[in-house]
Symmetry: C2
Subunit: 161 residues, 2 copies
DNA sequence: TTCCTTGCAAAGGCTTTGCACACCG
DNA sequence: CGGTGTGCAAAGCCTTTGCAAGGAA
């Protein structure tokens, strides 16, 4: 995956100085091919060297975003993830139970964004979209839990938390 | 708007003790008819009395959510808003420029959620959905800004931030 | 009376910032 | 060499929590 070289070159061209730290951070994110939190990026980089600080990770990730080379997605609940821009815009499907993030084709949003624009004059930013819900596995688990709790409530008079 | 009395009664029925603080907090949120942050709720309540603490606001709002009487929506960027449940589920259209929150009919999501379920086995939670983008006014403003910056770039050699 | 609620203050988690030193170009 | 980038530590912001005192039922 030579993708990181492209990003590094792009940063250089835009007048940014390249340092070992920046290279490692960019490489970690680009190489992973997924969405990562700042802490996760730090974790990967730390496997190589200790010479990187969390503040630098934040600064570098923000740098990438400012230069249009990465996206920053706020998944809510204080979770913020970064990803390099490779493929086109996509939807983030965030499981609110296990936290797993799946990606879906942004084309699914076409009719929705059109409708929002027409009916509400709202320009929806499909590229940064995070949808909450349950992944298949967790949906089944929650379903099971709901049934169990229902039985408990019917059994006792009032189940505590 | 007697809506708050309904909520207060519902809390009581579910075994919660009613205190002046809780009443004021519920009233502030129900009366506003919109989405509010905890700080905003505190601000409204403080117009009546000083005898309410932010911790109590958080606890009461969470109480409402736990009892299904209010929703908690994470708009990202650390913004969390609460609203009482009156009408059915709706989409939050959050303007990423001015922060304004508009509500849209959740029915618009029907085909999207169906597609996600079929193609990705993902159960999208439409009730808690926040969509980012630009409201009409800000869209026009941004458009104007983009044009201006384009001219600047063409004029000078490289516009700074 | 019982024990749920409150206020206060402190702790927590994540992110940003100020500063002096390091180092890229 | 000049100016940017870094590490460190401290500050910030929003939210939660522990605890003793207050008050609903």
């Amino acid at each position: 995956m030579a993708h990181c070289h492209t990003l590094i070159a792009a940063l250089r061209q835009q007048g940014c100085r390249m340092t070992p730290q920046r290279e490692m951070i960019v490489e970690a994110l680009a190489h992973s091919g997924r969405h990562m939190t700042a802490e996760e990026v730090l974790g990967v980089v730390r496997q190589k060297t200790r010479a990187v600080n969390i503040a630098t990770v934040y600064r570098t990730l923000d740098l990438l975003v400012e230069h249009g080379l990465a996206t920053r997605t706020d998944l809510g609940e204080g979770r913020v993830v970064y990803a390099t821009v490779r493929h086109g815009p996509h939807i983030h499907l965030v499981c609110r139970r296990c936290g797993q993030v799946q990606e879906a084709d942004a084309a699914l949003l076409a009719s929705l964004t059109a409708a929002l624009q027409e009916q509400y004059h709202f320009w929806c930013d499909a590229g940064h979209l995070a949808l909450y819900g349950l992944c298949e596995e967790c949906e089944q688990t929650e379903h099971r839990i709901r049934n169990t709790e229902y039985v408990k409530r019917e059994g006792g008079h009032h189940a505590a938390e």
